[in-house]
Every structure is written in C-alpha cells, then in structure tokens.
C-alpha cells in the first residue's frame, strides 16, 4: 500500500517531480537488491578491521608492558627468543578413545607448566619467587593476547577473501565483548606488576584470614595447609602458596590429605570466585554442592573422583563476579564478601560436619597479593 502511495504519479503524470520521487524510491531499492550483501560485507569489514587494529594495539602493548617491567627490574632478555616463546603451543590429547584422557591431559599440562617455568627462569633470571610468578603471569597474558589477535586476524582474512558475510557477521558480533576482555586482560598487567590481589583471589583470601597465626605446612608444589578448630570440628585449610601469583596444586594436595594424612575427612568445602550471570550483583555469595574449581577440568575431575571413591560430600561457596572483575584488581564489593563467605563456611561446618569430625576447606584461585 505504502509503495503505491509513494509512486502514484508514475503512470499518470510525466512531471519531473514524480520522476525524482520514483527514482529516490526505486534506485536504492535496486542497489540494495543487487549489491546489498556486498555493502553489508564492506560495512562489516570496516568495523572488524577497526576492532582488529585495536586488538593488535593491545597485543603489542601487553608485550611492551612486560618488556618495560623486565628492563625496569634490570633483567636482560633475548627479544627474539622472547617473541618465539609467545608462539609456544600445547597440543591437547586425542579424545577418540576417551578412556584415560584426563590423565594424559594432566601429563601434557604438567609438562607445559614446567616448560613455561623453565623458559621464564632462563629468559628472566631472578631468584625472587614473587617476581618470577609475576613475570610468569604477565608472559601468560602476552601469549594469550598474541594468540587472540592471530585467531581473529585469521577469520577476518578468511571472511575478506571469500566475501563471507556470515563469518564477518559473527566476528562483528563477538568483537565488542572480546575487546572488553582484552582490555581487562592488558589492564590486569598493572595489577600484576604491583602484586595486588585479583578478583579471582577471593577464595585464597577467605582461607588465608583463617590461616593467620596457625602453623603452615607445605604440601606439594606451591600449596600450603594449616589446621584450625571450629566448635569441636577440625578444619584443614588449604590454599596456594602466596603472596606469589600461584593457583597451587589443589587436587594433588587434597589427594595427599585424604589418602595419606587424614583418612577420616567427612566433608570438603571449596571456596571460589564464579562467573555471575548478567543482572546478578558483584560480590554476592552463594552456596551449593560440587567441586568449585575452573580451568580445563582436570583438577575438577580428580577432586570429584576422589570424593566419589571416599564417599565424601563436596560443598561449594562461590562469590559472584564477571570475567573482567576476576582478572582485574579485586574490587571492594568482592573483598567485602569475605565476612559472608566465612559465616556461610562456619554454618556449613556446623550443620554438615559431626562433632570431632574433620573437614577440608580449600580456597581456590590465584593467590597473588594474598599470603597465609
């Protein structure tokens, strides 16, 4: 109907005015029919190209921040070897036959971890454990930024070569979120430089405050534990060794505790930061069951397997935060949730652990800026 109202005079009048009105309507219509997709591709290419340039800037900046940090500390490094190291890759195990894939993946990741630590030790010779862990974390960010940039560039070029509107549209849609996360990742480097706690460190921070003035013992690599008592129950507190930027080997430590040191454990409680859903408040504390631990799933699998074999219930306390808050400096709302975390913890211990019983409490996360 609207179409006929706009062009009523086409057949009845030859006036210049009606021709212009008709042309104004039909010409764009024809252009859009024949070249619409091409125009859309050009617009998408322009937007993705600008985002890609920003991603490249962030990737270069992450390298620059790391190199500045290193040169300010007086370390000398081989730039070519450093650039080669950013290209370091890990091939995940084949999963066609999934039996034993977790053990194989665990072995590969342990090898990767050791290799990265050795490489960092060779590239930046420092005996300071905190400095080394900060550099390891910063190298991790620079390598991640390098990888993100290269993957996005790959799909951008692929979309451009084939004028693939669907590929470009997907890139266009994910770019704003990706840039936000990349921004947060690069900004987190200044937090790392200063050794400040990250949002992800709320689990270790909650446990560290309970560990204070207790005798601490090392259990495995970069992991410590201490004992305390709460209303007639013995609590074994476990966290990664701080204030370095470690996540520890929580799964192996738990296995040692449950199988070798205290076989009478009647509950495991895990405290961790967890991704909030949009609309949820940062710093909100929730309680549930299951192994609260992120990563590739290897630690989670091992903890679940151990709990199943020994018939030990696993409870979880989580602090809600976004991915950007988790990788940045710990925000006030997150830090202030510690009291609520501890109240929830004490309530679970009282309700779920019998008197004279034993419970393992694990603070999961990066313990940078959090001692014990």
């Amino acid at each position: 109907m609207l179409l006929f109202q706009l062009t009523p005079s086409l057949g009845s009048s030859n006036s210049l005015y009606s021709l212009i009105v008709s042309a104004l309507f039909w010409v764009p219509w024809i252009i859009l029919i024949f070249w619409g997709q091409r125009i859309q591709v050009t617009i998408s290419l322009g937007q993705v190209s600008r985002s890609l340039a920003r991603l490249k800037l962030l990737s270069d900046r992450s390298k620059q921040v790391l190199l500045n940090y290193i040169s300010n500390k007086g370390f000398k490094t081989d730039i070519t070897r450093f650039n080669d190291f950013l290209e370091y890759f890990t091939i995940p195990p084949v999963s066609m036959d999934p039996v034993g894939v977790v053990k194989r993946f665990d072995h590969i990741l342990t090898t990767q971890d050791k290799r990265i630590k050795n490489e960092v030790a060779q590239l930046f010779s420092t005996s300071d454990k905190i400095e080394r862990s900060i550099i390891e974390n910063m190298v991790g960010i620079a390598a991640a930024m390098n990888q993100i940039f290269k993957i996005i560039r790959h799909y951008y070029i692929l979309g451009k070569k084939g004028n693939n509107i669907y590929l470009l549209a997907q890139l266009q849609m994910i770019m704003p979120m990706l840039l936000k996360q990349a921004d947060a990742l690069v900004n987190a480097m200044s937090t790392l430089e200063l050794g400040q706690p990250l949002g992800d460190g709320i689990g270790p921070a909650s446990v560290a405050l309970l560990m204070r003035e207790k005798e601490k013992r090392r259990i495995g690599d970069e992991t410590v534990f201490a004992e305390t008592e709460y209303k007639g129950r013995r609590a074994i507190l476990v966290k990664a060794e701080g204030p370095e930027g470690n996540v520890g080997e929580i799964d192996d430590a738990l296995e040692k505790i449950v199988k070798e040191i205290y076989p009478d454990v009647s509950a495991i409680i895990m405290i961790d930061a967890a991704l909030k859903l949009e609309g949820e408040k940062t710093g909100d504390v929730s309680e549930g069951v299951g192994a609260a631990i992120g990563g590739y799933g290897i630690e989670k699998f091992k903890i679940e397997q151990l709990a199943y074999e020994k018939n030990i219930p696993v409870y979880a306390i989580i602090v809600k935060e976004s991915i950007i808050e988790a990788i940045g400096a710990m925000r006030k709302e997150i830090a202030e949730s510690v009291n609520q975390v501890q109240q929830t913890l004490f309530r679970i211990i009282e309700e779920r652990v019998p008197e004279n019983g034993r419970v393992v409490v694990i603070g999961v996360g990066n313990t940078l800026g959090v001692g014990q």
Binding site: V186, L194, P243, A329, K332, I334, A335, E336, G369
Partner: protein, 65 residues
C-alpha cells in the same frame, strides 16, 4: 601508564585495609608495593598492638566520589 588511558568508570585507586583484632578497628590507606593480605602492618592507634592487612581492594573514582 595504562591507567591514564582508562575510562572514568575504570580508573581506580587501590587501598589497603589494616585491621586490629583486639579493638576491631580498620585503618584504610593507599596501597604500597609489598603489601599483601595477612601481612603484619603497623600498630593499632588505640591499643598499640600489631595490626595486619585484612583486605586490599580497588575502588573506582566514581565509587570514591
């Protein structure tokens, strides 16, 4: 260096909270390099006992205002 380029919402100051268990008071000061949670830090202005760092957190400039 990076902070200078952040938006006003993202610009933040990091604070260290020192706590005295006996008097239950908190002292808020700017973060200094070397601070970490549970580190012994300063004396309580009320009882003179050792305080410890109970929290380190960032506040955005908007929160500050």
């Amino acid at each position: 260096m990076l902070g200078a380029e952040l938006g006003s919402e993202q610009r933040q100051i990091v604070f260290t909270i020192e706590h005295c268990d006996f008097c239950n008071i908190n002292n808020k000061r700017s973060f200094q390099k070397g601070d970490y949670v549970v580190k012994a830090s300063g004396r309580c202005p009320k009882c003179g006992r050792d305080m410890y760092i109970s929290a380190i957190y960032a506040e955005s400039l908007r929160q500050q205002a």
